[in-house]
Amino acid sequence: MTSTETNVTSDENQPPVDPNAVTISINGRQVAARKGELIIAAADRSGDYIPRFCYHPRMSPVGMCRQCLVEVEGPRGPMMVVSCMTPVADGQIVRTDTPQVKRAHEGILELLLANHPLDCPVCDKGGECPLQDQAFSHGPGESRFVEEKRHYEKPIPISDIVLLDRERCILCDRCTRFADEVAGDALIHFTSRGNNTQVLTFPDEPFSSYFSGNTVQICPVGALTAKPYRFKARPWDLEKVESTCTTCSVGCRITVESSRDQLLRYQGVDSDPVNWSWLCDKGRFNFEAVASDARLEQPLIKRDGQFVEADWSTALRAAAALVSSALRDGGAGSVAILGGARGTNEDAYAWSRLARALGTSNVDAQLGDGLPSTVFAYPQATIDEAANASTVILLGPDLKEELPVLHLRLRDASEKRRSKIVEFGAKESGLTRYAWKHTGHEPGQQVAAVRSTLTETSVVSQLGKGSVVVVVGRGNLAESPEFTMSALAAVMELVPNAKVLPVLRRGNVRGALSAGMGSGSAAEILERAAAGKINCLVLVGADPLADFPDADLARRALTAVPNIVSLDTFMTTSSSQAQIVLPAAAFGEKDGTTTNLEGRVSQLSRKVTTRGTSRPDWMVAVELADLLDIDLGVGSVHDVFDQMVTTQSAFRPIDRSAIKASPDGVLLAHVGSAPIASPVPEVPERAGFSYRLVVSRKLYDAGQNVANSPSLASLAPGSAIYLHPLDLDRLGAPAGSNVKAIGARTSVVMRVEADASVHRGTAWVPWNQPGGKVGELIDASALVNDVRLENI
């Protein structure tokens, strides 16, 4: 009796036994591991380093390099096995330090080095090369290979960015596995066999993947190099600091690396909840723009239609004078501030504080290309929740083009059979081939599509199988965002326990909106400006002429506003209309925090000195406030942060120590209740011979960061109208020819191309491409936009 009772108490005190826990012995020490784990991973945790080349924790093991051989006690004595392929088993006895294992490690390394050129002194990898390092730590120390080494032409370009040196390649299958398994672009592969095995692209098909830069990062030798970093520095000269990429709103963790005060590369950091060490090429290589010669270095004031350089105090006083005269003449409502999504949370907060102090609510961080901030009021999902949900409903943009690393995470979820993707779209996306269901719809028909697909029997049973996450964003700039919001409301009505992951694209848009930069709407502000009601417009890293979908409205607005102050890193088309242009500090030149699309606040770090006299956005806001006799009460970026987290309810649970302690960032607490669904707008009928316009983004566009990065600038596909091949036949225009596109207000001449991923009856035009005029065809006040096409 007593003993039973004791047993019961001890059971209660002990945590429940994990059925997957196993204990193995590595070099005589007991190591706790989990079933299914590989020996190499368990050894990493126990501190017994096993040399490896092909093994990568984020990819499936292949056991090709054979470097990670260890001895495992078997029924017939110790057996040599590759630790990257052998799962742990309870009671397993592993030895990594016997003379046999040492002999095997030395033997494999000698073989790997046999044909590897010893050009380490001129190799970019030299100094951070796993082959070099492990040859030192586990190698034989001498070479007995007296034969002539393998020779290939070196290096050969395999894409516009990446070069391949097949002599250095040790054929570990990392890049080819990445391309196939992670990126889904199996454009590089092994060719030939035996001693002649080599990695190559297929004939006439370059490795044009959005993720090609990752292969350079994971290459264990210097076989793959990227143009932007080639021969720029030696690894031991690089200084690095961890930061967060703000190219899009995924917020990948990166290291920012520089030498001689020049940004030289970004490398992905393995952040488990976010980017798993992957980056897209746009985020990885757009550091070139920071060092661009086109950067603004000095404040500019327009005199007689010409910009002349001025010092900061003159320029700021002139700007303050413009603001105060606007306040005097038209009241607070005549001042407007657009932008803030490009900078840090602190930048956005300082400007929103200034706006509130001035009394204006004409403030928006989005430029009519996002969704109303009510989207944040739904129960929020994280990226991890989305990538582990049993069903993911995609409403909106092509994630591969807009948020590439989120695309990788969802692709992985689908490929590993964790999630089924139900996609709605006016055009097929990069995820369509991984989707369980794709429902195509004409612009404006989202709600009907959602209602019919989500009530199908098979879909209903799928939705009942587990968690559901709705990934929602703006898929079409040529239709009203109300359609997407109504469709989201319809999904939430049908799947009430679903969570929402809003995918607004701009780098820190969530942070800017949370910091208070969303009290107005860009469309209304520009309408007011066009009506002459705005006297002073401040552009904080915003370029409405290039980014606002309705080109006509943006043009009318900027022409009607008498005084524009622009704070930017480059002279944009909108800046050139300004009276005063102030140079802003760019990414890598300022400290602060940023918020990604799931509301994860993480640290940005400064690595290089600011260009010319440029200053961070928040500092300009504070100094401008000073000149306007407004005391924002902050003197440093830390002050801004502290004030922001105490005053802005969205940031309230966060403090500086929490951010410092967690490199992966801290999630914002969710606030708000689900908004009341607005009635579905009535979609006008489409005339038989017109095409409903779908305008969405490509990864590479005419944006400043791409246009000023020489390696990326040429990758933008250019502006064209894409039609379904059958529609193109009906039009009678050959692909590649020019056609006249007639919109509601004006007509433009554009190249026409065939694309089977475009649905019939719609015309897809990529947004913001070099030479693009699609904005002329978009009326922001219309629910949908139609074009007629004429053969010329």
Binding site: C65, R66, Q67, I108, L112, E147, G194, T197
Partner: protein, 463 residues
């Protein structure tokens, strides 16, 4: 179609014939001849019994796999997981081991026997479809099997409701593209799926659970399946009456090299010795010009070599293994006393280095390195240090002691087969086996070819 009087090299003799009984006919490959000589009777008998019954018959007969590993076919069929469909039979007709040409004859001379064997296997093991993978270089075999398959389909032996029963199975032909490693079963599956012919990683050691297209798959050798029609007609008892208990039935052996009558023989398993085969009147009738036998390879190019000392070993895996080699794919290559041993080793090693798929490091780099050192030695440009270098490189491919035969002359005792390996599959060790055997058993021949180098002392310790 041209017809041979006899398949090249096949000598029947007066012995029990299980798989070669029709080789005597000029038109042995036609359906007409096949039916006239008891064809498709085994299938008919099988269809009259339950699949489990047929499976048990094969199990009782202990039909050993003839591809090289010698794993019992009946046991292999039982490894597939229950309740997972579809499941496939893949016939390994990618016979590419140097010296081996028995499956080619079986496909060229008696394709219907193979087809019938496939059908019996599918019936017994409950397999949904059969893929017949024939080596790319075997043009005649491809043509004969394709023609036979068409005939069999037309006659209702293959396809839907075979011979009026409820059993249906399709046989799909696939031709290889000429890679040695595709003879390895997982590489063959990769190749069938349309991928690069590279071996899959082990475990799983058998594709029985996860094979072709991720489904349960049985991979059998051509000769293994060719045994089944005879077995079903005559029963397991008669089958096991031939040969020994552990190695019942007959097996086909291809002999090449310096013998008077090279060719393929169907020998009795387990009892016939190498001496019988090489010197017997009904077999090879001795070494050419009555020369001295120097060495022979007992089981295909990748097997360690034997010397005349091992001549009295029978074709029995349990005796050949401990003696330091393997029976493998049933190919005996004979070298008489005129053979240039280093050159012979180079010929074999060059083949394996060339056929390495390039997937794993030891085989890709080590195989080529071995070949280059050897060719240097053969060209008379080697040094004595190269001999140890060969063994060192081999050590990186196969760690530990490599199997070899005993030699009373050299005072060597045998190291039993198999070897340990650092590679994914057997191609890498195969490149090393001839080097190791040649260098262990005939080191003096190598030493005669290389230049001695005096090591110059680094620090002058002049007395």
């Amino acid at each position: 179609m041209t017809s041979y009087a006899h398949a090249p090299g096949f000598i029947a003799g007066d012995r029990p014939q299980i798989v070669t009984s029709r080789f005597q006919y000029d038109d042995s490959f036609t359906l007409e001849r096949y039916l006239a000589t008891g064809g498709y009777q085994g299938l008919k008998k099988a269809l009259g019994r339950t699949p489990t019954d047929v499976h048990d018959e094969v199990k009782n007969a202990t039909v050993l796999g003839r591809g090289g590993a010698g794993f019992p076919a009946g046991t292999k069929w039982g490894l597939t997981p229950q309740g997972k469909w579809p499941r496939y039979l893949v016939v390994n007709g990618d016979e590419s081991e140097p010296g081996t040409y028995k499956d080619r004859l079986l496909m060229e001379r008696d394709p219907h026997q193979l087809i019938e064997g496939c059908l019996i296997a599918c019936y017994a093991a409950g397999l949904s479809q059969c893929f017949l993978y024939i080596r790319g270089e075997m043009a005649v075999a491809q043509e004969r099997v394709a023609t036979a398959l068409n005939e069999a389909y037309a006659a209702g032996y293959v396809g839907k409701n075979i011979m009026g029963s409820r059993f249906s199975v399709d046989i799909v032909l696939h031709w290889g593209a000429g890679a040695y490693v595709v003879g390895e079963e997982t590489a063959l599956i990769e190749s069938l799926e349309g991928n690069r012919g590279m071996p899959r990683l082990k475990p799983p050691y058998f594709p029985a659970a996860i094979g072709l297209y991720g489904q349960p798959t049985i991979v059998n050798n051509v000769e293994t399946l060719a045994n089944l029609p005879w077995l079903l007609v005559n029963g397991a008892e008669k089958y096991t009456a031939i040969g020994t208990k552990t190695s019942p039935g007959t097996r086909m052996v291809a002999v090449s090299g310096h013998v008077k009558r090279p060719g393929v023989y169907e020998i009795i398993n387990g009892t016939t010795t190498f001496r019988d085969l090489l010197y017997g009147d009904e077999f090879c009738q001795g070494i050419r010009n009555d020369n001295q036998l120097k060495a022979f390879v007992p089981g295909g190019g990748s097997a360690p070599w034997f010397t005349p000392e091992q001549l009295d070993l029978p074709f029995e895996a349990s005796q050949v293994g401990p003696a330091g080699s393997m029976l493998g794919s049933g190919a005996v290559m004979v070298m008489d006393h005129t053979t240039d041993i280093p050159r012979a080793a180079l010929t074999l090693t060059r083949f394996y280095a060339h056929e390495s798929c390039g997937k794993c490091t030891p085989c890709r780099e080590g195989g080529t390195w071995l070949e280059r050192i050897l060719s240097r030695i053969v060209d008379g440009k080697g040094t004595d240090a190269d001999l140890d270098q060969l063994l060192e490189v081999g050590e990186s491919i196969c760690p530990g002691v490599f199997p070899h035969a005993s030699s009373s002359e050299l005072g060597l005792s045998a190291v039993p087969f198999p070897y340990r390996m650092n590679t994914i599959c057997f191609v890498g060790p195969s490149a090393y086996a001839p080097v190791h055997s040649a260098l262990t058993l005939f080191r003096s021949e190598f030493e005669a070819r290389v230049t001695k180098r005096t090591r110059i002392p680094v620090s002058g310790s002049v007395s």
